[in-house]
């Protein structure tokens, strides 16, 4: 991978302005499409890329266990970042693709990334048949009927690890926010956001000298926007929780230099019915002294939820072009279960 170029991309500024916020996500959205509340998803088209939006991702996390009950977590992400709001064939494409993959065990953490230009076929996504890929990393539909995302195959590899998994959705796609319009700040920055949180997974993890058969639960997030953060928002803390009751909780907290954090949550009933909550309904409080904090107290009084989440492996820092913390967590308290925690915008831990 190319560090010098990644450093360049880390600014990700399409305009002359100096990049604002984490990974430049707070920069102005000149010429890009702006999410609108009245927009409704249309599938399968929206599984594919939206080049007129500045950023987009296909983001899958999974909590897995092996036959001995050991916890594992994997992450597979494909980011699309546009330098200009259009697509072109060949090298003229202004789209840049970034793949991140992670694998976390209770004792080890692996991370890898890939970077590619759009327009060449090296990386991209298609809606039908659904496929998202960068180099040999691949997330592809195996669904014979129903939605393209109902069944997937997933693979990635990096230094010291690889995984190959089959995913089978046991519930419907879930729009986040209000009908998929997810507000990110009091000023109204927003994204289009939907999830498939009902995957059951089976497959193989390959570690240094062994293959591990695993099963578990997975969660896919699809989100696209052109300016998801306001200029004073430096980063976020995001959770996706699989509760033992079969319900799911998505929540995030956007930290703001200028004031109180902005929170948002969606409670997903076991049948997939979402209940979105506006700013303030969810509270996320760090309970560890570490930075970034790997233990949190989460409350959502509207659903009588007060839980503690703890990282399965606190050392789950992703030391990549856009460094962040991402790893599986255990849930205890009013509810039990497993989930994933992502924290961005923190300085790299010592």
């Amino acid at each position: 991978m190319n560090a010098r170029c990644l450093a360049l991309l880390a600014t990700l500024a399409a305009g002359p302005a100096v990049a604002q916020g984490y990974a430049g996500l707070g920069t102005q959205a000149d010429g890009f499409a702006i999410p609108a509340p009245e927009t409704r998803f249309s599938f399968p088209e929206d599984h594919g890329p939206h080049p007129d939006y500045r950023i987009e991702w296909w983001y899958l996390t999974a909590n897995l266990t092996d036959a001995d009950g050991t916890d594992y977590g994997i992450q597979w992400t494909l980011f699309r970042s546009a330098l200009a709001p259009n697509e072109a064939k060949g090298w003229a494409s202004p789209q840049i693709w970034l793949g991140n993959a992670g694998l976390t065990t209770p004792t080890d953490h692996y991370a890898a990334e890939r970077l590619a230009r759009g327009g060449t076929g090296q990386a991209g996504a298609t809606a039908q048949p659904f496929e998202a890929w960068i180099d040999e990393w691949r997330m592809a539909s195996t669904a014979k009927t129903g939605d393209q995302l109902d069944a997937l195959t997933l693979s990635a590899n990096g230094d010291g690890f690889a995984y190959s998994l089959s995913l089978d959705a046991k519930g419907p796609l879930v729009p986040q926010g209000v009908e998929g319009y997810s507000v990110k700040s009091p000023e109204g920055q927003a994204s289009h956001y939907y999830s498939q949180p009902f995957y059951e997974i089976a497959g193989t993890l390959s570690l240094a000298n062994r293959d591990v058969s695993v099963t578990g639960q997975g969660w896919l997030d699809r989100e696209y926007s052109s300016q998801p953060l306001s200029e004073t928002q430096d980063g976020w803390d995001w959770i996706s929780l699989h509760l033992d009751t079969g319900a799911k909780l998505m929540g995030f907290r956007l930290r703001d230099r200028a004031g109180a954090p902005f929170t948002s949550a969606t409670w997903i009933a076991p049948d997939g019915t979402p209940t979105p909550y506006p700013d303030g309904a969810l509270t996320m409080t760090p309970t560890s002294d570490t930075e970034p904090p790997t233990s949190w107290q989460i409350t959502l009084p509207a659903q009588n939820l007060t839980v503690q989440i703890d990282a399965i492996n606190p050392q789950a820092w992703m030391p990549l072009s856009f460094p962040y913390w991402e790893g599986p967590v255990r849930i205890s308290g009013s509810h039990a279960g497993r989930g994933y925690l992502e924290m961005t915008g923190y300085p790299e831990p010592e």
Binding site: W91, A116, T120, D135
Partner: protein
């Protein structure tokens, strides 16, 4: 005491400013020429390293399609199959009459070491600037200056580490400029790539090992050795001057030394004072020499760059970087040179009897025995030089031959001149003529060093210009013959090439120029397949051939080799030539191939296609009577880009232009050496003239007018210059023969016929006389204006 002694010693220079100037100028000139050559060589080496190191694309294994560019999809397919590859797109573009080499790299996947330094994170560049039109291009500062404000090009950024004429840019920009439509020339295989070939994904691809980075340095070594030899020659000529001046200064100061010693100055202190004085002078001269050398190198560098580009395709920046190490080495050589030149004089002072009388003439008189000894040494050198190529091989032996020839004949020169003057004296009638010959002969030792310098300069001049002119004559004739086609076209792709061949049916005969690069007899080489066309038989010049060479070739029963391949491996017609594992054909003929550093062989086209079916079939030579018509049709009807088409005339003109620029450096160094030699004569005559008063005074007293004496002095200078030229001519021709038949063969692999150019000799003869005339004017004018009282004083003051 020391201070007084030093001021007494230094007062000499105050009284003899001309001598001081001569000493400083001689040493400065020698240092200048030497260090100029060193600076050029250092700059060239630095630029090879930059070319090899900075854009280390050659350090990676590559995948490429012998048939031409591969489609973009091949890159994507390989990446998706887990092959870590990075695409490279290359091509040439004519922009504002400049041929520009475009190197398109993909900054995201390319290895960091191969990216231009200007792409660093600290550059403040944004991805949009890099990836969106117009994009960024990196080029050498002078290339940026030329291309600046050219529409259609990316934003240009200067990168001094890049060779001139190259534009390194994002592959998207290269694709746009070259209209490559996604095509890729090669894929760099990055660390972690699987072994073997991706046969299932792209069966056409071939894997190539990293390029040998040392190639360029090895190829250009001979050229730099050539320059170094020239630098050494100039330095030697300069040292002749210094030796003469220092010797004279020491001799003239003998009374001072004697007086100082008599006053009690210890010998050690005297010697160390003289040494200090010498070092001081050398330091001053060295500094001037370095400054001068820097200027000379800066002036010559563009031509050297052109030469290297023309001969070897090596790129050099047109500007010179100042290197302190180089300056220090220049100073060092000036000091060492001064010490060498003064060693003899210092040694004489060490052995000087305290009460010996001053002998101003002693320095310049050499016994006949010494003359014979010197001539014997010269003859030995000549023999050793001649023996060198017999004992050793290679370029060094060639230069040993040259060195032996030049130095040997320089040493023999005084003996020859003395003999010629004796002959003149024996034929002389009348006292004045007899005195003239005898006096000239008596002066010979004092002038011999300067005349030796003149001989070296003249011989080098004759030798080098004969070589260059012979080469040019041969080269022009060879070009006329060799460029058999009127038009040369290169198709952008195999598909286009096939379409081109169809299109050409009925319009013009075409000759395929299809080649593969492969090792020939363990050295880099190229193999061409040619079709059976009568133009080859009638036009292609063969140096040596079997009687039925062309029939053998086209019957696939023989191979033609270029001179380089044949000479390096000692091949003659009939000898087996190995073209590949288990593929041997007899040599049918040898053709000359000037300007090509590599070995080359030609076989019949069907044989080529049988053994190398993958040969790129892109280049063709077209035979036509209507060049403008066909050019226009190719461009307008067929749609061939202009850069892919070149006509015979342009090619010839470009080749000759490259050729001429190649030898401008040689010509410049030639002129410089000749000037140094002229200067040497001037200094020798000047120093002699001050000492000759005692010899001339009696003649004046006998009734010869000052004007008459002056005229005789001029005549003497001219006679000596003419005699020296007479010796220089055969030496120069021998030198030319060495260069053409030995050094060229060793350095480039080709031998050239020698032609004689008497008009050049005449010109040089006039130049030599002119130099002698100019050099003698100053001393003669001084003589003509000498007060009669000065002549009289000679008798009164005779010590």
């Amino acid at each position: 005491m020391r201070r007084a002694a030093l001021s007494a010693l230094l007062s000499h220079w105050r009284r003899q400013p001309m001598q001081l100037f001569t000493l400083l100028a001689g040493l400065a000139l020698a240092t200048a020429l030497w260090s100029a050559v060193q600076a050029i060589n250092a700059e060239a080496r630095r630029s090879y390293d930059a070319a090899a190191g900075t854009l280390g694309l050659g350090a990676y294994e590559t995948l490429s399609d012998p048939a031409g560019r591969m489609p973009l999809a091949t890159f994507a397919d390989l990446r998706r199959a887990g092959w870590p590859v990075s695409p490279v797109l290359e091509g040439r573009l004519v922009v504002t009459d400049q041929r520009l080499r475009i190197l398109g790299i993909e900054p995201i996947s390319a290895p960091v070491a191969s990216l231009p330094a200007g792409l660093g994170a600290e550059s403040g560049l944004t991805p949009a600037e890099l990836f969106l039109p117009p994009g960024l291009g990196f080029a050498a500062p002078e290339t940026v200056a030329v291309l600046k404000d050219t529409p259609g090009l990316p934003r240009l950024m200067a990168d001094p580490s890049l060779p001139p004429g190259q534009l390194v840019t994002d592959i998207a920009v290269a694709d746009r400029l070259l209209e490559a439509d996604g095509g890729i020339d090669r894929l760099l295989l990055l660390p972690g790539a699987p072994a073997g070939l991706p046969t299932e994904i792209a069966p056409a691809l071939r894997r190539a090992a990293p390029q040998d980075q040392g190639d360029l340095a090895r190829l250009t070594d001979s050229f730099h050795l050539n320059l170094t030899a020239f630098g050494l020659l100039s330095f030697a000529v300069g040292l002749f001057i210094v030796h003469g001046t220092i010797g004279l200064a020491f001799e003239q100061r003998r009374p001072i030394f004697r007086t100082l010693r008599a006053l009690g100055l210890p010998l050690g202190v005297l010697l160390s004072l003289l040494l200090a004085e010498l070092l001081l002078l050398a330091l001053v001269a060295g500094l001037v020499g370095i400054a001068l050398g820097y200027l000379i190198a800066g002036a010559l560098l563009p031509d050297v760059a052109a030469t290297l580009r023309g001969l070897y395709g090596a790129s050099l920046p047109g500007t010179l970087a100042f290197d302190p190490a180089w300056a220090l080495s220049g100073l060092g050589i000036a000091l060492a040179g001064a010490l060498v030149a003064a060693a003899h004089g210092l040694d004489k002072i060490r052995r000087m009897p305290l009460l010996a009388a001053a002998q101003p003439r002693a320095w310049s008189t050499v016994s006949a025995r010494a003359l014979r000894r010197q001539a014997a040494a010269g003859a030995a050198l000549l023999l050793a030089g001649a023996a060198a190529p017999l004992i050793a091989d290679g370029l060094l032996a060639g230069f040993a031959l040259l060195g032996g020839l030049l130095l040997g004949s320089a040493l023999v020169l005084p003996f020859l001149l003395s003999a010629a003057l004796s002959l003149g004296a024996s034929r002389a009638r009348g006292p004045q003529a007899q005195w003239f010959w005898a006096d000239t002969r008596q002066q010979l030792p004092g002038l011999s060093l300067a005349l030796m310098a003149l001989l070296l300069a003249l011989a080098t001049n004759i030798g080098v210009s004969t070589m260059v002119s012979s080469f040019r004559l041969t080269f022009t004739g060879w070009l006329d013959q060799r460029l058999v086609s009127q038009l040369y076209v290169t198709a952008p792709s195999e598909a286009e090439a096939a379409r081109l061949r169809d299109w050409l049916q009925g319009r013009a005969e075409f000759l395929p120029i299809w080649k593969v690069d492969l090792p020939l007899h363990d050295a880099p080489g190229e193999l061409f397949g040619i079709s059976d066309s009568p133009v080859y038989r009638s036009h292609w010049p063969l140096l040596d051939a079997a009687p039925d060479a062309w029939d053998m070739l086209f019957a696939s029963e023989g191979v033609l080799a270029n001179e380089q391949l044949a000479r390096r491996n000692g091949l003659s017609p009939g000898d087996p030539v190995t073209l590949g594992p288990g593929w041997v054909l007899p040599l049918a003929g040898i053709y000359s191939d000037y300007g090509n550093p590599n070995g080359q062989a030609m076989i019949a086209l069907p044989l080529m296609l049988q053994y190398h079916p993958e040969v790129p079939r892109l280049r063709h030579g077209l035979l036509t009577d209507d060049v403008p018509g066909l050019t226009a049709a190719l461009h307008d009807e067929f749609g061939l880009p202009r850069a892919n088409l070149i006509n015979n005339e342009t090619l010839k003109a470009t080749s000759l232009q490259i050729f001429d620029r190649t030898f401008t450096v040689t010509a410049a160094l030639n002129v410089l050496t000749l000037s140094v030699a002229g200067f040497a004569i001037l200094t020798a005559l000047l120093t002699l003239s001050t000492m000759r008063l005692p010899q001339l005074a009696p003649l004046w007293a006998l009734g010869l007018t000052r004007r008459r004496l002056a005229r005789l002095e001029i005549l003497r200078s001219l006679a000596l210059a003419a005699l020296t030229f007479a010796v220089a001519l055969p030496v120069g021709l021998a030198l030319a023969w060495c260069l053409l038949a030995v050094v060229n063969v060793e350095a480039f692999g080709w031998r050239l016929p020698m032609f004689l150019f008497p008009r050049q000799w005449l010109l040089l003869f006039v130049l030599a006389l002119l130099a002698a005339l100019v050099a003698s004017i100053l001393p003669v004018r001084r003589l003509a204006r000498t007060e009669p009282s000065q002549f009289l004083k000679v008798f009164a003051d005779e010590r």
